[in-house]
């Protein structure tokens, strides 16, 4: 098949009689008839309704609390201080108190949220060097040109981690204190590790090779910290030496750039091992104390603390359930209209006459 038969018989140039060549391949020709379209619409309407209700119930049992601390409480002062670059190295702490009206049952997640911070600007996003942060020795001291102007400092010393993304890492530290009715103060214990994607922590970010005699600090020798950083990358976590270098959880979380200008990033997970937190986060008064470093005034942004529960469906998100319910309604309306049109015009087949 396909080839012309050899020889010069009387029918030597006759094309093959294959279904493919004669365009007679067996085929299924569906078409939009009332018998297919109308049932589909009704069924999809039901499916959407069911999903919508189910999701709605799920979301109803999920709580979320947002505490904007940009210039709330005693943070007004810090907010003003951070307006000026000169004072950027001056430490500033402040507190904001807030109330939790209802018990957050189960696992509770603490996020820091930023508004109007565009992590998704093209040139900002590109300003990083994955090869450096995967711990390649060669790349460590030769940052990619994409990092410019954050690739070398004024003395031509390579910056690690290089680039605008790392440079602008969120550097407020947050502490939440529970104030029960008895007047005591209990710090809410947070897991500050295991907050990044497994693949990021274990594959995408790696430290330069070290061993018992060759410390992380030595590995980073010959590099300098990013311009805005107060500590070098190998000293990010005082409490846990395994959380230093490129594999620092906070750094990894930050390096996963947000898609939209308003976003929240995981800060910690409630440690429910003890005290009043075994059930979750109890209702009552809380105080948030902040080591206020991250300036938001230049981009007219806001900062907030977000406390949230999660379900199988993720965090509290009313959009999808409502969207499903609305869609279900629309489909139903459309189905009814189509049915009416069909009954009135198409049923007797008169519209199909020539």
């Amino acid at each position: 098949m396909g080839k012309k038969q050899a020889g010069t018989g009387p029918l030597s140039r006759r094309p093959d009689n294959s279904a493919f060549k004669q365009q007679r391949l067996p085929a299924w020709s569906p078409s939009l008839t009332a018998q297919t379209v109308l049932p589909t619409f009704y069924i999809l309407s039901l499916v959407c309704l069911f999903l919508g209700i189910w999701l709605f119930i799920t979301v109803e049992n999920t709580y979320e609390l947002k505490v904007d601390y940009t210039n709330a409480g005693t943070c007004e002062r810090c907010f003003d201080l951070r307006k000026h670059v000169i004072a950027s190295k001056t430490a500033c702490t402040c507190t904001v108190s807030f109330q939790v009206p209802k018990l957050f049952q189960g696992d509770v997640f603490f996020y820091y949220g930023l508004r109007n911070f565009h992590q998704n600007l093209r040139r900002y996003m590109d300003s990083r060097d994955d090869a450096q942060m995967v711990g390649r020795k060669n790349n460590l001291k030769a940052p990619s040109s994409y990092c410019a102007p954050f690739d070398f400092d004024a003395n031509k010393v390579p910056i690690a981690p290089c680039g605008a993304v790392a440079n602008s890492v969120f550097n407020d530290s947050l502490t939440v204190v529970y104030n029960p009715a008895d007047g005591s103060e209990i710090q809410v214990p947070l897991y500050r590790k295991g907050i990044a994607w497994y693949t990021d922590k274990n594959v995408k970010f790696r430290n330069p090779p070290t061993n018992d005699t060759f410390t992380l600090q030595q590995a980073f020798e010959g590099t300098t910290r990013p311009l805005y950083w107060q500590r070098p990358v190998y000293e990010l976590d005082d409490t846990n030496s395994n959380n230093n270098g490129f594999i620092n959880d906070d750094l990894i979380v930050w390096m996963r750039e947000a898609a939209f200008p308003n976003f929240k990033k995981l800060y910690g997970v409630l440690n429910r091992a003890q005290g009043p937190f075994t059930e979750g986060l109890p209702p009552g008064n809380y105080t948030l104390s902040i080591n206020y470093n991250f300036p938001v005034e230049p981009f007219r942004g806001r900062k907030e603390l977000v406390i949230s529960m999660v379900t199988w469906f993720g965090g509290q998100n009313y959009f999808l359930p409502i969207a499903y319910l609305v869609t279900s309604g629309l489909i139903l309306v459309a189905a009814v209209v189509l049915t009416m049109v069909y009954v009135k015009v198409g049923k007797n087949g008169k519209n199909m006459e020539e």
Binding site: D16, Q22, Q23, L121, W197, A259
Partner: protein, 1008 residues
């Protein structure tokens, strides 16, 4: 036979301003001193060294390629590059190399053809002896000797011919071969808005992103599906002609979809509609009709000189001839004597060179019935009458012309009897009959009507015995008239008139101008598809009209058939003015036919009144232009092309159709019988006219449908793709950040959606071929270009806009403030990119499913395969291994794993798909119910008739034409009468130029 010609190799190419040239025949040295061009032909474009640079240069001159190179340069600037360079360079290289390969193979073919033509041998007279020389080495001034049926590739001056009458027969063919028609694809570039810091750079970054609207893959896919549809034409068994072992051939691959938009067909008559075979079918002799009845062929073996190809089906006639009936013998004697046919005897076989096939048929009939025309000299005609050689003295030929519509000869038989034999149109002959024939006339008229009803071309035959004295007197006057210097024609006519009277009727002959198989059916089908058919022929008006009736173009039930036969411009324009008035008044509610006599189609007149012709003609169902030259054929096509923005198709078989075939948008050549000139310059070729309906109604319609579906879908998917970027611009500060992974952008058109859309546009058919024939009306949307008009394009834009809004804002709203089920990030850029691209791909795939009418296994495989490939490729590219090997190329590590295991991601994908698709379904359903198109209706019928296949196209009964008849059996040009009788031709060979360098008429007649 051989002809001696001299080459005065005036090179065809690059004629400079007229200048005087000096040359001496047969003096090479002298001629070489002027450095005239040589005679080698070169149609190839490149040689080994120039191929690559020249071809690349040409390719980059194409707007599209230049545009892609420009994009590539932009992408190489890091400040601008929003996409990696490989997104453009890979497809560009692909396109360039494919085109390169194609051009290479084309040029190799041209080189081969050139070599073939240049190396043909010819006899050249060098230093007094004939030497075999290659055509390319023929020099200006050489004398060459040509034999019969040899090719000529130079301008020659005829010096002498070996033919007795110094006649030569020439077919003018154009040797430049292939035509390729450039196709322009318009490109629209959308501008990206911008609001951010460095507006200029960002602008160009957006230009790069938005290039997906017109990606290279569009060009590649269009080429592929055109090629596919061309192959389907080549492979079609229903367009394969068994007898000549000729399959249909798509010689150009770029015009398939235009086959579905034809509004005007310009057809040649002879060889295209008709077989150019005249058969002597019936005759009426002395009131008796012969030729009907028995199926058995008459056996002519009793006649050693009979033409074996001749068939006749009535034994009675042979018996009557054998029995020696004087009327019947006179009948055939007339046919054997009264004509201008040239005999040619070769190796015991007798051939006739007739100026028109009608005459040939009549003389052959006489030959088979025992009156064999053997040879002629200027003064005699030799016959073999029933085995007895007889020589007649030819005293005068009263030649045919348009006004006389008859021809007579005056001969003296061996016994010395003077007789005038006359044949002509029945009305003309009837006027000149002796009263004693009136009874016979009545009977014969009945027979004539019967023959005409069968579509035969009839002729009345009469004779008259002359008195010697009377004739002598007449001959003197005739001599006087023929030598007079003023008004010779008119005087001769009067003289002829004098002697052609009181004729005795012998009977009538009926010749069938055989149509090609299936011509009437095809024409009826095409007419139903609202395709206007124009027949352009060199024939006379009557012939053309007659054919118009017999092949169903002109119909009895037509409201009016205009016949415009005027000789001057004013007359014609006045006539036309009146006609168009009529048509306009009646608002074209009936079918009209128009017959234009080409006398007045000469160029000046075309210019004068072209608007009128066009106005009138375009309103008529069928138009027949008679007596047009090849050049005029092309002009008529040009006229319609210019005034009506419609797609035109020209179909023909001979060299005289080449100009028309080249002028029309699409040229179709009938291959097989004649030379290859028409085929060589055509875009499509097949063996029979009837295949045209399959080419247009099935292949053309499907190709158009497929191409439009392809374009609509392609633009839909790419506009949607691009608009999503635009919406994202509102969130990323118009920084030209792409929504999707760069790899997805590269592979979207190239891999993920390439095969399904090609599958759709190669296999799709709304209804199968039988139904396409059953409802030729299905062809109409293509003529109006309804499937891909500006309106349709606007609808695509709106649809894309809606889809992109859904595809961006639903995922945005669903993701912007949510987290994974373990509290970790999912609103990050990479997860969102993955979600957005998955939503897009699934939505456009479902849309593709909705657009597909014809789901073959291949379509299913392509669609599901592409989706699977998408997921497979995505998981691979986002895997640890790829990241660790190519760190900076695959930064999306782990995104697929972390994101696609989330239920809310899938719920979002489901919702976007529903919201993209259901409105389309609802809209289509509503339109099918409320305003069904012809397409919907036929598809509805197909569904109802699933069990019962549609009836085969009915057989058309042969139309009975009761009121028409044509008394035409002469050549349409003035005959050879002069040449035959005057002895001059021997001394002044190049006297009758029209016969030597025929434009149309002789060309057609010579071919028989």
């Amino acid at each position: 036979m051989g002809s001696l010609l001299s080459a005065c190799g005036i090179n065809v190419k690059k004629k400079k301003v007229e200048e005087e040239r000096h040359l001496r025949a047969n003096d090479r040295e002298f001629n070489l001193s002027f450095k005239y061009a040589n005679n080698a032909i070169k149609t190839s474009k490149y040689n080994v060294f120039t191929f690559l640079p020249l071809n690349l240069f040409e390719q980059f001159q194409r707007l599209a390629n230049a545009y892609f190179v420009f994009l590539l340069i932009l992408q190489l600037i890091p400040q601008i590059s929003s996409l990696s360079w490989f997104t453009t360079v890979v497809p560009l290289l692909l396109v360039l190399s494919i085109t390169l390969a194609k051009d290479l193979s084309d040029d190799i073919t041209r080189h081969k053809n050139d070599n073939h033509v240049n190396n043909r041998k010819v006899e050249v007279l060098i230093n007094g002896e004939l030497k075999s020389e290659k055509w390319m080495n023929v020099q200006v001034g050489d004398i060459v000797k040509l034999e019969n049926n040899e090719f000529v590739t130079a301008d020659l001056l005829l010096l002498s011919s070996s033919e007795p009458l110094n006649l030569i027969y020439i077919e003018t063919a154009e040797l430049d071969g292939l035509v390729s028609k450039p196709v322009n694809v318009n490109m629209n570039l959308a501008d990206g808005a911008n609001a951010s810091l460095s507006a200029f750079l960002t602008f160009w970054s957006y230009v790069i992103i938005l290039n997906t609207v017109v990606p290279i893959s569009l060009y590649v896919s269009v080429e592929i599906l055109r090629l596919g549809n061309s192959y389907f034409i080549d492979w079609d068994r229903k367009m394969y002609h068994v007898k000549s072992d000729t399959p249909a051939q798509a010689r150009t691959t770029t015009l398939n979809e235009e086959l579905g938009q034809i509004k005007y067909i310009f057809s040649d008559k002879t060889g295209t509609l008709t077989q150019n075979i005249m058969t002597f079918n019936r005759c009426s002799i002395n009131g008796k009709s012969y030729g009907k009845s028995s199926k058995k062929k008459v056996d002519f073996s009793w006649n050693p000189l009979a033409d074996p190809k001749f068939c006749f089906h009535d034994h009675k006639l042979v018996e009557v001839v054998k029995s020696g009936s004087p009327e019947v013998q006179a009948f055939f004697r007339l046919l054997a004597l009264c004509h201008t046919v040239m005999p040619e005897e070769k190796t015991e076989e007798l051939f006739y060179q007739a100026q028109s096939p009608d005459e040939g048929a009549l003389v052959t009939a006489a030959r088979n019935f025992g009156f064999v025309f053997r040879s002629r000299t200027p003064e005699t005609i030799s016959l073999v009458e029933m085995g007895v050689p007889t020589t007649y003295e030819l005293l005068a030929v009263l030649d045919f012309n348009n006004v006389r519509k008859r021809m007579s000869v005056i001969v003296r038989s061996p016994e010395g009897k003077l007789t005038l034999f006359c044949k002509g149109a029945d009305t003309i002959i009837y006027e000149r009959l002796h009263p004693s024939s009136s009874k016979l006339m009545e009977v014969t008229t009945e027979h004539l009507n019967e023959y005409a009803g069968e579509g035969l071309r009839t002729l009345a035959l009469a004779y008259k015995d002359l008195d010697e004295d009377e004739f002598e007197k007449w001959k003197e006057r005739h001599h006087e008239a023929s030598t007079s210097l003023e008004d010779r024609e008119a005087k001769l006519d009067t003289i002829y008139e004098e002697i052609e009277k009181d004729l005795l009727l012998l009977g009538a002959s009926a010749v069938e101008d055989k149509l090609q198989d299936g011509v009437p059916q095809t024409i009826e089908q095409l007419a139903k598809a609202d395709i206007k058919i124009w027949v352009l022929t060199g024939d006379k008006q009557e012939t053309a009209e007659n054919i118009g009736y017999s092949c169903n173009m002109l119909r009895e039930e037509m409201k009016e058939i205009f016949i415009v036969a005027a000789n001057t411009a004013e007359e014609k324009s006045r006539l036309l003015g009146k006609k168009s008035q009529v048509v306009e008044d009646e608002k074209v509610d009936g079918e009209y036919g128009l017959v234009i006599n080409g006398h007045s189609l000469v160029r000046e007149i075309v210019l004068l009144i072209e608007n009128r012709i066009y106005l009138t003609a375009c309103m008529c169902q069928a138009v027949i232009c008679c007596r047009v030259t090849p050049l005029q054929k092309a002009q008529v096509v040009e006229l319609v092309k210019k005034h009506k923005k419609a797609v035109t198709l020209a179909i023909g078989d001979g060299a005289n159709d080449v100009s028309m075939i080249k002028t029309a948008h699409i040229g179709v050549g009938i291959s097989g019988q004649e030379g290859m000139q028409a085929v060589l310059s055509s875009d499509f070729s097949f063996a029979q006219f009837r295949y045209l309906q399959r080419l247009l109604l099935v292949h053309g319609r499907w190709s158009y449908l497929r191409m439009c579906k392809f374009l609509r879908y392609f633009f839909y998917k790419n506009f949607t793709f691009t608009f999503v970027h635009f919406w994202y611009g509102f969130f990323c500060g118009f920084s030209a950040q792409t929504v999707y992974d760069e790899w997805f952008i590269t592979l979207y058109n190239l891999v993920y959606t390439a095969l399904p859309v090609i599958g759709l546009s190669i296999f799709d058919q709304d209804v199968n071929d039988r139904w396409s024939f059953q409802y030729p009306q299905l062809y109409a949307p293509g003529q109006l270009n309804q499937y891909f008009s500006k309106m349709a394009f606007a609808r695509i834009l709106l649809h894309s806009c809606y889809s992109s809004l859904v595809l961006f804002f639903i995922p945005w709203a669903a993701m912007c403030d949510t987290v994974r089920d373990d509290g970790k990030d999912i609103a990050d850029y990479q997860s969102f990119a993955l979600l957005a691209q998955t939503c897009l791909l699934i939505a456009v795939s479902v849309q593709m499913g909705l657009d597909t009418y014809y789901w073959t296994a291949v379509n299913q495989f392509f669609l599901w395969g592409s989706l699977s490939v998408y997921f497979a490729v995505t998981f691979t590219m986002y895997s640890n291994g790829m990241y660790l090997i190519f760190t900076s190329s695959f930064p999306f590590i782990g995104t697929a794993r972390n994101s696609l295991n989330q239920p809310n991601v899938w719920l979002t994908i489901f919702l976007t798909t529903i919201l993209c698709i259901l409105p389309v379904v609802a809209k289509r359903f509503l339109f099918i119910q409320l305003k069904p198109t012809i397409n919907d209706k036929v598809r509805h019928k197909v569904r109802q008739a699933k069990a019962v296949p549609p009836p085969l196209p009915r057989k058309f009964p042969r139309r009975r034409i009761s009121t028409r008849r044509s008394g035409y059996a002469f050549s349409h040009a003035r005959g050879y009468g002069d040449l035959v009788t005057s002895g001059r031709f021997l001394r002044i060979p190049v006297k009758s130029r029209p016969a030597l360098f025929p434009h149309t008429d002789t060309c057609e007649s010579v071919r028989s």
